[in-house]
């Protein structure tokens, strides 16, 4: 299949009916694999890895903290992408997927913030510090809240999709700007993002690496969270599509069909 044909095939899923049919077929797979991954990763991580020489058993909250934080950011990126698709191609499924993803993003951000606080208490001696990473996540949380609130406030679904999409684009720029500003403002206590660096995986570079022994269960947890996120988005998008359809049917009845 040529690239163009593949791209066309992808756009077919913009048809709500096709989307619903396909997502219903693949959803069980995503549910089962994601929950298996999370269970395996957490059990492995919690019970079959040693305590960290410096941080003790508290380090194990990493299996929730890091995947949630990753998904909190990736969820916003996904919303950004789907918002762009809506603005350019005006596929309703795309806009509804962005709408469906936002509350998941809020929950992921909250999990990251809460686990961060629980982890920070024994490590730094405080539940909350205005550390750049924590602060950035707090700001991200505010962006999510505003985005969801705007969706909820506007009655007309197309107007809501348009406005939230523009907000998502503008918000993304300001979120990046805030990240930079916050870094400048406070150098912070938080360790660098040590998971995704090649050096961290091989254990070659710094002291604050995540060593192999913690890395594999963490990787499984991350995979589990990614799949869980996809499952939740597909599921919630389906719900949004049905809700939208009910709304349209009711409107149609009012007009006098």
């Amino acid at each position: 299949m040529s690239i163009a044909a593949k791209a066309n095939a992808l756009w077919e899923y913009a048809n709500p009916r096709k989307f619903l049919a396909t997502s219903e077929r693949v959803l069980p797979f995503f549910w089962i694999v994601s929950i298996t991954c999370i269970v395996v990763g957490l059990v492995w991580g919690f019970f079959f890895t040693p305590d960290d020489y410096k941080q003790g058993s508290t380090v194990k909250i990493i299996y929730l903290h890091v995947p949630a934080a990753l998904m909190a950011i990736n969820c916003w990126l996904m919303m950004l992408a789907t918002s762009l698709v809506w603005l350019v191609r005006r596929h309703h499924v795309s806009a509804l997927a962005a709408r469906a993803a936002a509350p998941i993003g809020i929950v992921m951000t909250l999990i990251a913030l809460l686990t961060g606080a629980i982890w920070g208490q024994p490590m730094w001696g405080t539940w909350w510090a205005w550390d750049p990473r924590l602060t950035s996540f707090l700001i991200l949380f505010l962006f999510y809240l505003g985005y969801v609130a705007l969706w909820e406030a506007i009655e007309d679904p197309d107007t809501a999709a348009d406005l939230t999409s523009v907000l998502c684009l503008v918000g993304s720029v300001f979120a990046i700007l805030s990240r930079y500003a916050v870094n400048f403002w406070n150098q912070g206590l938080h360790q660098g993002a040590s998971v995704m660096r090649a050096g961290a995986v091989t254990g070659a570079d710094t002291e604050e690496k995540v060593s192999n022994i913690f890395f594999y269960p963490l990787l499984i947890c991350i995979i589990g969270f990614v799949l869980l996120f996809i499952a939740l988005v597909l599921y919630r998008t389906g719900t949004e599509i049905r809700a939208r359809r009910i709304k349209a049917l009711l409107a149609r009845e009012r007009v006098g069909g």
């Binding site: 048809n15 709500p16 009655e155 007309d156 679904p157 939208r244 349209a248 409107a251 149609r252 007009v255």
Partner: protein
């Protein structure tokens, strides 16, 4: 130049309200828009004025030629009658608000704050605004609300003078203004819901 509308479909809040609408409005003519409440007359005027995109169809000869008067007049209560008109005149790049004041008998009120005017006087000021835009096509949405008999006559005369100078007007109203022009009843163009089969494609 003629305003030509071909096979126009319009939506309100994402729901089609009127479809298959075709008509033309020639210079010097008026077109009276009729139809039951809620059929979409206001939506049609807003679409023609360029405030919202049509669902389907073509609108030709509307670009930058329409002066639109909605239900609300866009008047600032703390500005005087003259200041209100002068503002709109300079926004539309015209000068001379005197004709507008004369036409709608607003000279005596010229220095009053528009917040102190009666509803009918405000309406007259709102309509006087159409004159200062200098645009050939007037689109008026229920222009005679709160006007007394004299004022309605004044308004009808103003429209007639405008038509006499080669302008045209599209007016949504239920009263007879005695103007030279046709009546366009949009009732039969009420959008019919689509068959349930291609419903997903259409609405979602």
């Amino acid at each position: 130049m003629t305003l030509t509308v071909t096979d126009l479909s319009i939506t309100r809040g994402g729901i089609p309200v009127l479809e298959g609408l075709s008509f033309s409005l020639k210079a010097g003519k008026a077109l009276i828009l009729r139809g039951p409440n809620g059929i979409g007359k206001t939506t049609l005027l807003r679409t023609l004025a360029g405030l919202q995109p049509p669902l389907e169809g073509k609108i030709e000869g509307a670009e930058d030629r329409i002066a639109y008067a909605s239900h609300s007049d866009g008047l600032k209560p703390t500005l005087t009658v003259t200041e209100n008109l002068t503002f709109w005149a300079s926004v539309f790049g015209t000068n001379g608000i005197q004709t507008a004041l004369d036409t709608f008998d607003l000279n005596e009120l010229a220095d009053r704050h528009s917040g102190n005017l009666s509803a009918g006087q405000k309406r007259r000021l709102g309509l006087a605004r159409m004159l200062v835009t200098g645009r050939p096509i007037w689109m008026l949405d229920e222009p005679t609300v709160s006007l007394d008999k004299n004022a309605v006559q004044m308004f009808a005369d103003a429209v007639r003078a405008h038509l006499g100078q080669g302008g045209s007007a599209l007016i949504a109203t239920h009263i007879d203004l005695g103007l030279d022009g046709e009546v366009l009843d949009v009732g039969p163009n009420k959008a019919r819901p689509k068959p349930i089969d291609d419903f997903d494609g259409g609405f979602l």
